[in-house]
Amino acid sequence: MANLHWLANPGRFLRISNAVVPYLAGLTVVLLAYGLWRGLTAPHDATQGAPATIMYMHVPSAIMSMTVYGGMAVASAVALIWKHPLADIAAKSSALIGAGFTATCLISGSMWGRPTWGTYWAWDARLTSELVLFFVYLGYIAIWQAIEDPQRAGRAAAILALAGSVNLPIIHYSVEWWNTLHQPAGLLQGKTDPVLAVPLLTLLAAFFCFYVTVLLLRMEREIVGRKIRQLRLLQAQA
């Protein structure tokens, strides 16, 4: 916890973040290029053929949609309990990125579903719970937009983020608890041949680096934005 407190100083955070972002951005580009190259030159899946190539977009964005939400929920708990200013900012700055991953997951999944399943959409437990995740992200963003005072907005948004976290195990286990059209997870169970799994995991790493890079940039902007807001308030009072 001592480390967290040390990092929780916004000024120190800004300095470290500024130094790290260029390297992270570079790493994202390298991983993305390598993963795409390996993925697009890999042989097609024997059963599904070319449409299964969409998994290089779909699987990493699906995993990231839940990872980002998990991080947002933890940051929200830390913000509620310990009142860390950075935790609040981290949660707020994550939401739009997570919503983007969720939208990518839903759209790419729809494009994959049409040629393989024979439909763009089905109301099965996996698809529906992922759609609910998207709406929770939108609701979280809407709260920040609707309430002007950052402290009150942060509290309301954090409570929504924590309440929405019950959806994460539902999304993950939906394919095991109920009969679904969506297939169960197989990547970490070794059911994906290494030729296809290596690019997939590389792209997952790329998506993760992308998330951290954009998160740091958005947090920097938020910190500066809040400083400006405070200065304006002081000026108005003077």
């Binding site: 042989p43 310990w82 393989t116 024979g118 109920w178």
Partner: protein, 146 residues
């Protein structure tokens, strides 16, 4: 008790209560949350009221697929324990074939044959290049359909 500790207990108990409520709700709704019923459930008549549309899912039984007329097919859906015969008129997805997963929507006729109005293909979570699949088949280690 410090304020932090109070807030932590509040957050944790809130999450616990919400999780419990969600769990109970999902448990109560479990019959409505399945996308399809298995052939065994259909044989035991565990699906919704008769004469209503529902979905049946399983594997297209090997050797059961036959064409009747121009675009009507007959096949059996199996979960290896039980099988239900299905008839369908229309286009099927590319993945549809014997040994492959399938979800059919329609209703059960009085003769026990399921009349499907739409067919979806289901695939599993194993992905591999054709060479690997061929090698597995040559070694006799292939467990999927043809």
């Amino acid at each position: 008790m410090t304020r932090k500790r109070q807030r932590m207990i509040f957050v944790l108990s809130g999450l616990g209560a919400l999780g419990l409520a969600t769990g109970l709700t999902l448990f109560a709704l479990r019959d409505n949350l399945v996308f399809f019923y298995s052939p065994t459930q259909v044989v035991l008549r565990e699906m919704p009221v008769e004469n209503r549309n529902f979905r049946i899912g399983g594997l297209v039984e090997a050797g059961s697929l036959e064409r009747v007329g121009a675009d009507t097919i007959r096949f059996a859906v199996t979960d290896t324990a039980n099988a239900v015969r299905v008839t369908y008129t229309g286009l099927v997805p590319n993945l549809f074939k014997e040994g492959q997963g399938v979800v059919a929507e329609g209703r059960l006729g009085t003769d026990g044959v399921f009349v499907a109005s739409s067919i979806l293909a289901k695939h599993d979570e194993t992905y591999m290049p054709k060479e690997v699949m061929d090698a597995l088949k040559a070694q006799g280690n292939w467990k999927g359909g043809d």
